[in-house]
């Protein structure tokens, strides 16, 4: 396939995934803000949402007051914020339009429909008056796109580039989310039975849409150790680093089989997967959760660059 097409497919799915993750972060902020403020009433939840989204600097440069209305507007509709939900859908659709032949009609309609809807003023009102309703809508658009992709696209190399984009972006987002809230997960600071903290941990799970799944796996024991394990090492959790990396590895392997060639990027992915596969939570905590997550983020960045280089994104 054309390198430019592969690049477009890869970024297209990254943008859709990013839009959805923005929505999940907003959900986390919204829920945390519903809790009585801890300590001296210093509300930090919207600040942590911005940090997790990687948007804190951009937001601060606007000198806007920190509130649900301003943060959600910045993360959803701000055209200057490259990661805002509307921009993610704009980029995704522009990528799709630049290679209409490589995606199916159903995928195009899912993307085109989402953007058309998002451009309507009614959606601004929905985000203002019913943020959870809006968040659900964004998540359903992501689901629609992935569903359309899953049920209509040929299982050739294009499919692998789409999935690589999805899982790299998801892994990156999960790692960021944990990194921003890692202090609430540190065993030292946990006070057993502290209602607020407990709630904060569960919001991390909620932001990863993993509340219910977590229950099934660990019942009701919200220890920080388990939450971190669930989102990092548990191979069955759909947003965990382990699961995402397993998928990245397998799609790279598929490409190697189809093209009959292995590259350095393949061993990079396997190395990362091995770390997560054989990882141990005690060890990660003792080495430092933040250090571990930073290392993972660095690895995903390097993988993304190596994929671009290996498959000639941006010319050869």
């Amino acid at each position: 396939m054309l390198s430019r097409t592969a690049e477009n497919l890869f970024w297209l799915s990254r943008y859709v995934e990013r839009a959805e993750n923005m929505a999940r972060l907003l959900e986390m902020g919204y829920r945390m803000a519903l809790m009585p403020a801890a300590g001296n009433g210093n509300r930090s939840e919207w600040r942590s949402v911005l940090s997790a989204a990687g948007c804190a600097e951009g937001f601060d440069s606007d000198n806007t007051e920190l509130s649900q209305a301003t943060v959600s507007d910045y993360l959803i509709f701000n055209r200057d914020n490259p990661s805002s939900i509307i921009n993610c859908f704009e980029y995704a659709r522009a990528n799709a339009r630049a290679m209409r032949t490589a995606i199916t009609q159903e995928m195009w309609e899912a993307l085109n429909g989402a953007l058309m809807e998002l451009r309507r003023t009614a959606m601004r009102n929905l985000a203002k008056t019913d943020l959870p309703g809006f968040i659900d809508w964004v998540k359903s658009q992501g689901a629609l796109f992935r569903g359309a992709t899953d049920s209509t696209i040929l299982r050739n190399d294009g499919y692998d580039f789409i999935r690589l984009g999805t899982f790299l972006e998801r892994a990156d987002n999960t790692a960021r989310l944990l990194d921003v809230k890692y202090y609430v997960l540190l065993p030292e600071t946990s006070m057993v039975g502290d209602g607020v903290d407990n709630y904060q941990w569960t919001t991390v799970l909620r932001a990863a849409s993993s509340m219910r799944a977590f229950h099934w796996v660990y019942r009701d024991d919200y220890s920080p150790w388990r939450i971190a394990h669930f989102l990092i090492l548990n191979p069955f959790s759909p947003r965990s680093l382990a699961h995402c990396t397993e998928n990245i590895t397998s799609h790279l392997e598929r490409l190697a089989r189809q093209y009959g060639r292995r590259h350095a990027v393949h061993s990079m992915a396997v190395d990362t997967y091995a770390i997560l596969n054989h990882g141990d939570m005690d060890e990660i905590f003792s080495r430092g959760l933040h250090e571990f997550l930073s290392d993972c983020l660095q690895r995903y960045r390097a993988l993304s660059e190596a994929i671009a280089e290996t498959y000639y994104f941006g010319g050869q």
Partner: protein
């Protein structure tokens, strides 16, 4: 004015079944269907951008639900006439880039060819595969009476609009399945297959095995981008941009995830001036450096061949009937519109004296830009235009204002006749192929004769009835 649906208060035969059906359906349901059709177009993303207007690069072209209908015998005549023209135009192109017999014989003036901006010295003496230059000829036909058709112009470069022919039919079949099951309407969906066959048949000399075909687009910002992607998709070939292609050791390659892959046939949708910055415009970023050298040595086929534009120039147009006689020894089946060439002193005098009744066009213009429609213009507009003609007479031709036929069309006040034209798409390769159908454009403004989508025109589905 000839109304294609009604004559002497009677519904004409090809429209009878349609009118019965519309009467039975009623205006409310039809109005509902119109809205549905627009939603469908928007959803599929069939759009058309207008250059120079800025704004939305994805404007919708208005689609009119009432089809334009030809009988089988009307179509037979059109088909023969269009094929005849496509053959003569291609013979002319081969001739002017080789021995130029038609110029030696004094049929076409040398200056008109050699001093023409569309004449391409870089391709003199090159033999394109099968000696075909224009592989897709769009012939614009207007009708003024039951049996009177005129050719308005030929499009030998890369005529656009064929995606509308196909998508309009898709939409109509989705909206009115009962009509299609009741009436016998010739299908148009074989066009992409025939285009692919045509492109395969012009594989270059150096190509071994099954030729690798691509569609070359200037990119997603181009007004006809939807069509480029649509055709590539329908044929199952790659849609590439200039940056995806490169030349190496006398062949053209595309950049793929597996490394370079050879390309044999390029259906390009970018202009001659942009296809190779080494040969033509050095500032072009849309093309492929070195492409022309590969073309010259038989390493790649280009559709349409560089230089094909000289045949569809408006000044050359007036000689097409002579070409048909000269090369084919036949009388033209479709007539030209009588044309005054302002380059001739007598014609110029007549044109300037009769400006308010004429349509004046720039010889090298296209898309309905820069033309004067005399009857629809003010005195001042005519006077200003006259000055432009006087400054450069050879740049202009004039034609009588034809009473273009009209077809019933949905407008704000209900259903009213609006002027239409017609563009069938003729394919030339190992064979000459013509899909039974084409693009009908309609001038949506009352009384307007300008059907270009850039000037407020819309489109209709065109039905050719089977025998």
């Amino acid at each position: 004015m000839f109304n294609e649906m009604e004559m002497n208060g009677q519904v004409r035969e090809p429209y009878r079944a349609l009118v019965d059906w519309m009467d039975a359906t009623g205006p409310e349901i039809l109005a509902q269907k119109r809205l549905e059709a627009e939603t469908l177009f928007r959803k599929i993303g069939i759009t058309f951008a207008v250059y120079g207007e800025g704004g939305d690069p994805e404007r919708l072209i208005p689609f009119d639900l009432i089809p334009r209908i030809f009988t089988a015998s009307e179509w037979r005549k059109l088909e023969r006439g269009v094929k005849q023209r496509a053959r003569a135009l291609n013979t002319f192109l081969y001739d002017v880039y080789h021995n130029a017999e038609i110029i030696r014989a004094g049929v076409v003036p040398a200056d008109l060819v050699y001093k023409n901006a569309a004449f391409e010295p870089a391709v003199i003496g090159i033999d394109p595969p099968r000696r075909v230059y224009s592989h897709i000829v769009g012939v614009d036909v207007v009708r003024v009476g039951p049996d009177e058709f005129y050719v308005l112009e030929d499009n030998c470069r890369t005529p656009s609009g064929v995606s509308y022919m196909l998508e309009n039919r898709e939409i109509m079949m989705r909206m009115f399945p009962e009509l299609f099951s009741k009436l016998r309407i010739e299908p148009v969906d074989s066009y992409p297959d025939q285009l692919l066959k045509t492109l395969k048949s012009i594989a270059p000399a150096k190509c071994e095995g099954d030729p690798n075909i691509v569609v070359l687009t200037p990119g997603a910002m181009n007004s006809a981008y939807y069509e480029h992607s649509f055709l590539a998709d329908q044929m199952g070939v790659e849609l590439v941009e200039g940056q995806d292609l490169f030349v190496s050791e006398g062949r053209v390659y595309m950049r793929t995830t597996r490394g370079p892959e050879r390309v044999d046939v390029i259906y390009r949708r970018i202009d001659d001036a942009f296809i190779d910055p080494l040969c033509f415009r050095p500032d072009s970023v849309l093309g492929v450096p070195g492409l022309m050298n590969v073309y010259r040595s038989g390493g790649v086929a280009i559709c349409s061949a560089p230089g094909a534009g000289v045949a569809d120039d408006k000044a050359i147009y007036t000689y097409v009937p002579d070409m048909i006689r000269f090369y084919l020894g036949q009388e033209p089946i479709l007539n030209n519109v009588p044309t005054w060439k302002c380059a001739r002193a007598d014609d110029l005098k007549y044109v300037l004296e009769h400006l308010p009744e004429l349509v004046v066009k720039e010889v090298h213009g296209s898309g309905g830009y820069g033309m004067l429609v005399g009857p629809a213009s003010t005195k001042e507009e005519c006077a200003t235009y006259a000055e432009r003609i006087k400054a450069n007479p050879s740049d202009f031709i004039a034609q009588p204002t034809l009473a273009l036929s009209a077809c019933p069309t949905f407008v704000e006040s209900g259903i009213a006749p609006r002027h239409v034209d017609f563009r069938p798409f003729c394919l030339v390769g190992d064979d000459i192929r013509l899909t039974p159908g084409g693009l009908t454009r309609v001038a949506l403004r009352d009384g307007s004769l300008v059907v270009n989508s850039s000037q407020g025109g819309g489109v209709k589905d065109t039905w050719i009835m089977a025998e």
